[in-house]
């Protein structure tokens, strides 16, 4: 009897969790607050963002403050500079904003420094080094910019909060920024020197290959190297001194040994891996395979593919993982007038559990909190 009651209580506890996620819809200028509970995800609120009702301002990156009280949104398009906007999680209303650089994108707040580090993606700009903006989110002031590579994307903080990592999509580099010193600490060339030319493919968001003439010319354009790896994301491991990079152009995940500061492994993926996240328990690597509309899950112990789940619509984009490492929330952009979709995937059985339509071109996604019912 006691066992039964205990089982009942534990079961009830397990199945009565609710999870909250924010997702930005880049072509709708909206952010959706989603709630997942009892194996079903629903939209709690759709928040209109931006300033111009007749201009698309492109909410791209989104992150939640470690204190859970605020969420931050990057608006890619301005005149011409984008913005970072701070919202209250309590009211989902604007608290403050500041101007950043060209096409500000992914970002994260360091629990140690308290600063927010946001890459200025400059997706459609010329092939020249861009920056990472460092923002004091208390005063919402951009306190400095740190020059990195061409088209920096992905911005993730080391577990100790002392380093920020981003990759430069066009120059194919991994950057480590000293989060306290506010300067680039180390740079790593991610190119695979053994890669053949046919490893190059058309890439998201940049000139297609038919617009480029030859390999030599491509590499020398604007005096900058043009990466074949085309890294789009980096995620440091929560418990080991490793980081994983999505090689969007080379269809691979690149493991980087942060102690040795060198590539320690590469393994192939489907076409166009885009975002990567690691479950908080450090066991699973989850990646969106953008060009195939899939989500892949690897076991980080042996790098074996545990599951590859077809997303509900095309153009898989961002990943947020629940703090208990049980669920992955995947934003999927869709095409044209299709709604964006957030898929919920079980990290226990690698199955799609639930989906919800959100605004068009769902992209940036952030896990907010897990509540007991």
């Amino acid at each position: 009897m006691v066992r039964f009651i205990l089982f009942f209580l534990v079961s009830n506890f397990v199945f009565s969790q609710s999870y909250f996620v924010y997702v930005a819809s880049e072509s709708d200028d909206t952010v959706s607050l989603l709630k997942f509970e009892n194996n079903e995800i629903n939209e709690v609120e759709r928040i209109t963002v931006g300033t111009y009702p007749t201009e698309i301002e492109g909410p791209h990156g989104i992150t939640v403050d470690p204190n859970g009280k605020f969420w931050y949104l990057s608006l890619a398009h301005g005149n011409p500079f984008g913005k970072l906007v701070k919202y209250s999680t309590e009211s989902n209303e604007v608290v403050d904003e500041t101007t950043l650089g060209l096409f500000p994108a992914s970002m994260q707040v360091s629990t140690t420094t308290g600063f927010l580090y946001c890459v200025n993606f400059n997706l459609h700009g010329s092939m020249k080094p861009s920056t990472v903006s460092v923002v004091d989110p208390v005063t919402m002031t951009e306190i400095t910019t740190i020059t990195t590579g061409s088209m920096p994307h992905g911005s993730r903080i080391s577990p100790d909060g002392l380093f920020q990592y981003s990759v430069a999509m066009m120059s194919g580099e991994l950057f480590e920024i000293d989060a306290l010193g506010l300067e680039v600490n180390r740079t790593l060339d991610l190119e695979n020197k053994m890669m053949k030319n046919d490893g190059m493919k058309s890439m998201d968001g940049m000139k297609s290959m038919d617009e480029m003439k030859s390999m030599d010319e491509m590499k020398s354009m604007d005096g900058m190297k043009h990466s074949m790896v085309k890294p789009t994301w980096v995620i440091p491991h929560p418990k080991q001194n490793l980081a994983y990079v999505a090689g969007n152009g080379s269809d691979e995940v690149i493991e980087v040994d942060l102690d040795a500061w060198k590539v320690s492994d590469r393994f192939k993926t489907g076409k166009g891996p885009y975002n990567l996240e690691i479950s908080p328990d450090g066991k699973l690597l989850i990646g969106t395979i953008k060009s195939e509309g899939k989500t892949a899950i690897w076991n980080l112990d042996d790098k074996k593919l545990l599951g590859e789940i077809k997303n509900t619509t095309s153009v898989s984009h961002g990943i947020a993982i629940s703090s208990d490492s049980k669920y992955a929330f995947i934003s999927v952009e869709g095409i044209g007038g299709e709604p964006g979709i957030v898929d919920v995937i079980s990290l226990e059985n690698y199955q799609l559990i639930s989906s919800i339509e959100v605004g068009k071109q769902a992209g940036g996604i952030a896990f907010w909190k897990q509540d007991n019912l």
Binding site: G50, N79, L123, K207, V315
Partner: protein, 679 residues
């Protein structure tokens, strides 16, 4: 007992919390620095017991941010922990004290002193100074860093900004000058007098020779129509004479006016310039005066209602109510019938084609759907064969333009997707004969040769070439491209006119005008048929309260009429501002303005004759229509995107309803249904 334990826990916890509360202490507080001075602040934290803690790291930053700083206000050397004073003024500096994985911060006021004044030049505007006239003075201040500032006390905001905290005094050497409490200088007696000023302890003097006012009579004539209407510009011509009746040249007469409205509940208003141009805004009696010292001459005129209102009626519409509509273009097809194309916004990348030959029976005849969320702009080549639509929000982020064969508008065909250098999104475009001008990522525009529309060839590009360059629209007429560049205003670029030797492959900028709001969103060139004057009509786009997702969006901004007759010296001379509503896109034909005023509907405005002042107040509006409909995408919400006059009909697109057409009648408005006479 249980409550007591809880209370004890609470108190202990609170005590622990408060005992750990720290504050940042820094000698930045009320710090004063000289320009160029490098200072290393001392910063630490204290707890509420007064215990001092060193910071493991200290960060300083200018509170307005790195973006606005760009080395202009202060420079921070994080390695050395120093700040360098650059720009004088009061500034807020934030100090963050970091220690043990936590950051605390405080804002401090830091003053960067203006450099000491080194020398002062007193500037008088007029060469000759006469009794009974005021002497406008300005000052050229050179500081010890050789920075020169022009301070004009007749523009007090300038003076206030730089010298409000500096000692200033002014006096005259004798009673030939009278200086009032506001430091205005009046010449009262003929002879010589010296003006003495002291700025921040530095003295300067200027000797003034005052002549006796020779003017005893002024002859004032008015160049005006027989019947003056509101908005009619009158030219005052005044000559001054001495007591012998000789004409006096080289003096500047002052023009002014007073007036009384015919309407007891209204006040007279107008504008008079010191070159003698006057315009009355409201019907009334106006006294126009030319004066010099104590001598003046006035003329009285009656200003009557302009009476240009006409009946404007909606005669047809093509409904799009399942998505937002963006821009549109009406054109004559190769079969000589009339057609239109409309874009869609924030939707599924559709553009619609319409047969508008019978404006009262607009028919949707075809559509294209492309990989985009917004087709913001649509244009058709002058020969009616090619339409080009812009893309934003393409799923592969390669936006660019789509070229469409519209020789048969009932069966349009996409013939080319072109994305080179345009992946960032094309917000607006313009087709000028053989070339299309397409914006790229809101920063520049590319010029493509489309003689073979299946193979566009990039031939040129124009950008301002400065950090933060932004562009919203481009319009081409007579070989001149008018780009609207938000805070950088309009740029006139020769792309084949010849005025500056430019071509599409070598665009050459030759004119520019900016204004304070920084909201230049569109520009339409306007050569006045009635006066021959040339204007750039520059429109704002402003949403003062951002987005309202639950109702009508508040809009603001107006059209600025800038006289570009002298391209090197453009002069903003008039405005069309509709109270409570903001401007968007517009069209001018035969001295009539057709403007989409967003929530204010389509407005039709008489802009004939000379233009001066506030055109709306002058009753120049011919008529208007509101375009919201009960079955609109947002019901009953007027949001006019733009207007185009085509073969005598006023076409428009509305964000919520699609395309529509109206007709301006020759009849005056029908007042039979109004309740203007209430017993």
């Amino acid at each position: 007992m249980k409550n007591n334990i809880l209370l004890l826990i609470f108190i202990s916890f609170s005590t622990l919390l408060f005992s750990q509360e720290k504050s940042v202490i820094s000698d930045l507080d009320e710090l004063k620095l000289d320009i160029g001075q490098i200072y290393k602040p001392t910063t630490y934290s204290v707890d509420n017991q007064g215990k001092k803690y060193d910071c493991e790291r200290v960060y300083y930053y200018y509170k307005k941010g790195a973006f606005s700083m760009t080395g202009k206000v202060m420079e921070f050397n994080r390695a050395n922990g120093t700040i360098k004073a650059v720009e004088p003024g009061y500034h807020e500096v934030v100090a963050i004290c970091y220690g043990s994985g936590k950051s605390i911060r405080r804002t401090f006021n830091v003053t960067i002193n203006y450099p000491k004044v080194k020398s002062i030049d007193i500037i008088t505007e007029n060469e000759s100074i006469y009794t009974d006239t005021y002497i406008p003075l300005s000052y050229k201040i050179t500081d010890q860093m050789d920075v020169v500032r022009d301070i004009d006390y007749w523009k007090s905001d300038n003076a206030e900004r730089y010298f409000s905290n500096l000692e200033f005094s002014i006096n005259s050497s004798n009673d030939k000058l009278n200086i009032d409490d506001s430091n205005n200088v009046l010449a009262v007696k003929a002879g010589s007098a010296t003006i003495n000023v002291v700025f921040d302890g530095v003295k300067s003097s200027k000797t003034i020779n005052i002549k006796k006012n020779p003017v005893t009579n002024i002859n004032l004539s008015l160049q005006k129509p027989e019947k003056v209407r509101t908005g009619d510009v009158i030219n005052l011509k005044a000559d001054a004479y001495d007591k012998r009746g000789n004409l006096i040249s080289n003096i500047k007469l002052k023009y002014s006016f007073t007036g009384k409205s015919f309407d007891k509940s209204n006040s007279a208003s107008g504008l008079i310039l010191q070159d003698g141009r006057f315009v009355g805004d409201v019907p009334g009696k106006y006294i126009l005066t030319a004066s010099f010292g104590n001598t003046s001459k006035s003329k009285i005129i009656n200003v009557f209602q302009r009476k240009v209102q006409r009946e404007v009626k909606k005669i047809g519409a093509g409904s799009v109510n399942d998505k937002h509509t963006s821009d549109f273009w009406v054109f004559e097809g190769v079969d000589k019938r009339d057609y239109a194309v409309t874009g869609t916004w924030g939707a599924d990348g559709t553009a619609y084609f319409w047969d508008v030959t019978n404006p009262s029976d607009i028919k949707k005849i075809d559509s294209v759907q492309v990989d985009a969320r917004t087709v913001n702009d649509v244009k058709v080549s002058p020969n009616g064969k090619i339409a080009i639509i812009s893309r934003e929000g393409a799923s592969n982020r390669k936006n660019g333009i789509i070229i469409i064969d519209v020789t048969n508008p009932y069966d349009v065909k996409i013939i080319k997707e072109y994305t080179k250098n345009l992946t960032g999104g094309v917000h607006n475009l313009f087709i000028d004969e053989k070339h299309v001008y397409a914006l790229s990522a809101g920063q520049k525009y590319y010029i493509l040769n489309i003689e073979d529309p299946t193979n566009p060839i990039e031939v040129g590009m124009f950008e301002l070439g400065k950090e933060g360059q932004a562009i919203h629209d481009v319009w081409v007429e007579d070989g001149i491209a008018y780009s609207s560049n938000w805070r950088d205003g309009v740029y006139l670029v020769d792309v084949g006119n010849g005025i500056a030797g430019g071509t599409p492959s070598n665009p050459v900028a030759f004119g520019n005008y900016t204004y304070d709001s920084g909201a230049n969103h569109a520009t339409f060139p306007f050569k006045s048929k009635s006066t021959g004057k040339f204007y750039a009509v520059m429109g704002d786009e402003i949403f003062p309260n951002g987005v309202n997702p639950n109702g009508t969006n508040e809009t603001a901004g107006f059209l600025h009429f800038v006289d570009f007759s002298d391209v090197k010296n453009p002069v903003e001379i008039a405005r069309y501002e509709l109270p409570g509503h903001g401007s968007h896109n517009y069209w001018i034909d035969n001295d009539i303005l057709y403007v989409g005023m967003y929530t204010g509907g389509v407005r039709i405005v008489d802009i004939s004759g000379d233009l001066l002042g506030d055109l709306y107040k002058q009753g120049r509006e011919i008529g208007y229509i509101l375009t919201g409909t009960a079955d609109g995408y947002i019901p009953n919400d007027t949001m006019v995107w733009g207007a185009q006059l085509y073969k005598g009909h006023v076409f428009y697109s509305d964000f919520n309803t699609g395309i529509g057409v109206a007709k301006v009648s020759d009849l005056k408005p029908n007042n039979s249904m109004t309740n203007q006479y209430v017993d």
